[in-house]
Structure formats: C-alpha cells, structure tokens
Amino acid sequence: MMEIEGLTVRFGGVVPLDGVTVRFEAGTCGLIGPNGAGKTTFFNVLSGFVAPVAGSVKAFGEDLLALAHFRRARWGLRRTFQTEQAIEELSVVDNVAMMLEHVPGSGNAAARREAAIEAIEFVGIDVDPDTKVGTLPARDRRLVEVARAVVGKPRLVLLDEPAAGLPDEETEHLGQVIRRIPEATGAQVILVEHDMTLVGACCETTAVLDFGKLIASGPTDEVLRDEQVIKAYLGTEEPA
C-alpha cells in the first residue's frame, strides 16, 4: 500500500506535480491522465530521478524518499520505461538476472538464472534465453522489461505505458501478464497507460492526474465515467 501526501515537484516555473495526495491500495492500481499530466514525473520521483520540493511517499509504511536512488531496487522497487529500456547488448536471461545482481541475498549465479528463467516463463517470452535482446522484436523486448520488473521479490512495480506501440492482441497478452503480477509476486503494481481497455481490465482502482493535480481517484469504472475526467481528456469549451 502506498500513501503519497502533498507531493510537489517544481522545474523552475513549471509545476509537474502540485500537492498530490493519493493512496494506492494493494493490487494493481491505474494512474491515468492526458499527456503532460505528471504521470512519468510521479514515477521518476518514486525512482529517485527527480527530487520533490515537498511531500512524502510512504510505501508499506516505509519512507521511500529517504533511500538513495540505486538502493531502491534493493528495497524492491522495479519499473519499466515509456521508451522500452531492455539492455540490447545482453542476452534475455542476463537482462533479467542482472536485476538480482545488486540485491543481496539473491543466491549464486545458478539461482539467479533459475529465478530469471522463471520470470521469463511468467511473462511468456518464447525464445532461447541466451538470445541477445537487441535482435528481438518490440513485443519481446517489452516482455523482457516486464520480466526484469517481476524477477525476484519486487514490492512495488511501476509500469510506464507498457502497451505503447503494441498491436491489440499483444496488448491483450500483456494485460493477462500484468493482472497476474500481484498474486504471483505479492507486489503492488501501478500502471500508467493510455489504453483504457487495458486499465479497465487490470486495475481495480485508478487515480487521474491533470496538470499535476489529482482530479479523481476510486474504483476504475466510476473514475472512467467521471465527468471531470472526461473533460480533462477531451477538453472543454470555454464560455465566450
């Protein structure tokens, strides 16, 4: 469970996150909003790439912001990126296993490989695990990134538009994988996505950001019907 209070980020005069207070319950939660709403900035704060000027982030009762960025992976924070970042030079299994190399207590190389293969099977990549990621098609690279996020013992998995650029049937497969993450790993999942079908299928609750402010939060089907949310996505006509 995540409790975020008064989270504010400022880049000069731009305020991508403006006093966001929101709770993410266990399971898979959606985070949606139009482009520039502050979703990726929110993930970057959780990852430690961006320092907030105010606010607190409590994950399972622990203060996430107090940890150095590279130590958060050790804590159990995992993420995927909007532009997929599987490491091209490494094989599929090395890509996944390397996530455990900086987490103490992940066992020896054989144990890490075993865990990596398990994660690769979990996301359903059907290639030789010793293939270089650079030679794989976009769908498989996405899945490698998701496997990197679920391998070992993740506690918080952040997925940043994992379905971007994927055709429908592959998005469907991805949705099936995402919905099984909380149950299989015990991790909390936050999904940023523009594909509302995917959000509707994966997330029980959803929060909506617009211009850095939280405008709605609650059960996904209610949030998606909310008039303010529809206005934020489609725009409103200013009275002349």
Binding site: E101, R113, R148, G175, T197
Partner: protein
Amino acid sequence: MGAVGTTPAPAAPSKLRSGGRRLQPNEIRGLIAIAILLVVSLAILPAILSVYWVTVLTAVAYISVTALGLNLLMGRVGLVSLGQIAVLAMGAWIFSKLSFSTSLPYPIVLVLTGLITMILGTLVGLPALRLSGLYLALITLMLAGAITIALRTMQFPNGGPGFLGNDPNSSAAVRRPAIAMSDPAFFRYTVIVCLVMFLIALWHVRGKPGHAWAAIRQSEPAALAAGVNITLYKLWAFALASFMTGVAGGLMASDVGRLYAISFPTDKSIVLLAVVLMGGIYSLWGAVIAGAFYSLLPALLDDWGLPADLLTILFGVGIIQVLLTAPGGLAQQFPRDMRNLGRLIMRLARRGSSPPDDGRAAA
C-alpha cells in the same frame, strides 16, 4: 472484461529450463582462435623470427593490453579517454622506479605497478562521473598533456636511488624476470601476462560488472532502476583499465630497458583511439588487432622502406571505413567477410561439380 481475456498467459515451453548455459558456436570459434594464437605466438614465432621482429611482437602484446583498457572503457561503458598513453607512461615509470628501488620478485613488482597506476588512473577518471562524450575526451586529453609535462620536467625516466630518487644520468636498465632474460623468452612471458589481462577483462565483461556497464552504456536511468551504483561502476571501469595499462607499462619498461619521455607523446593517445576504433570496440579481439596496428604496422612500413607518415593517412582512411561500414570494427568485419568468402567458395565448388547432374536432370 473487454479486450483482455481471463485465460492465463500460455506457459513458455520447458526447453527454457533444460540445464545451464551451453557454449554458443561463436564462443567455440573464439576458443579455437585463442588456442591457435597462443600456440603460434608461444611456440612457433619466437623460434622462426629474428630478435627485431620478436621485439616488435612483444610491443604488439603489451600495446594490445593498453588498447584493451580503452576498448573496455569505450565499448562497454561508453567512456572516451584520450589519456591512456599517459597512463601507460605512468605505469612504465612506476615500474622502473620500483624495480630500481626494491628487490621484490618480478611478478609482485608488476602487480604493485598495476595497483599504483590503478589509483592514479582512477583519479584521471574522476571527471567521468560528471562529464561524458567530447567533454570527457578533452579533459582526459588535457590531463594526459599535464602528465607528459610533469614526466619531462622530472627528467623521466630517472634512475636515482630509492623510489623518489632522481638521477637523470643513471644508465641502469630496467630488470626483466630471471626466467625470461632473452628476448624470445621475455616475449613468451609478456604473452602469458597479457593473456591473464584478457582473461580478467573477459571475466569482468561476462559477469556482474559487464552487465552493469552494458546497462550504463545504454541508459543511466535503466541502470539505476536495476540498482546499479553508477558512480562505483564507472570508477571501477577506469580502475580496471588503469590497472591493465599499468601492467602493460611495466612490461614495456622491461622490454625496452631504457625509457625515453619522447616515447609517450600526448598525441599517441589519439592514435591509440584510432586503432582501437578500427580494431573494434565491442569485441575483446578488437584490442589485439589494435595492438597490431599500433606496433606492427609501423615496423612493417619501415621494413618495406615506406615513410611512417603513411600511417596517419592509413589510419584516417581506416577510421572513415569503420564509421561508414563496420561500426564493430575489424573484429566484427573480418569474421563476417570470412564467412561470406567461405559461402562463396562453397557455392563455386558446388556449381563446379553440379553441371553433369543438372544435365542429366534436364535430359
């Protein structure tokens, strides 16, 4: 539930689980190539070549270790350093001072040289934590210039008493290992030390540091998200490259016996960059090729009576060729060309033997 169904994702076939990792065909080819290279250089070459060419090949060996340092920095971590020849000079100087001032066994002096150079070279790498690309290249080039000036001012190489003693007129030669006093024996010794350096590099590239470097090179955010301490691993890369270059410098000092400051001009670091790029930065073989370009080619040109300036033109053309057609350098291009040649020969051979069959089939 919309587009997303309720059936679980299909399980991947169980072939994934079948045991550990097997050797890939290209790895087997690599092992064969290493074995051939070792047999040729340890057993055959020292026996058939004159002392002059054995000395040239000794230089190829330790320069390829110097090139290996830059190859790792650029190819694996994405850091450009134009100060590697200055680091080599530091290694050579530290080794000669240690060998004059102590009576420690040769291998220990070599390792100590590596470790001291590692500390100094890591300092050269400190700017890499803040800078990258062209700016890092410029800063390392300037540091290399500063080191060159410092070494000249202290009348490098000075053979005075003790580690810091200064006697520019000393004419003592830097020592060699007792088991390898002759040139052919020292060549073999150098090849084995260089092999150890390449194995250390391979062990790094294949293991945890190599994975972390690959992540850093592609995307620092992705590396951070994987829990990689970027500061530590960048410094580690500089430390490893400097250690190797220091050891290479030690071998060089023993090989030539007497060092001269003019052997380490700052601009040689740029030549090293050129040959490392031409050899190929994504393969450790690239470093071996780079060593040959750097040390063997000038000797060959000299032997053929061609001017040494021709090298500048050759390297220039070579760099353009690499940038345009083979970003992986010769280490990648050569096996590819050989495979194509093999396929061509096979096809010609098949065509040569097949016409009678075709004739019968047509009839």
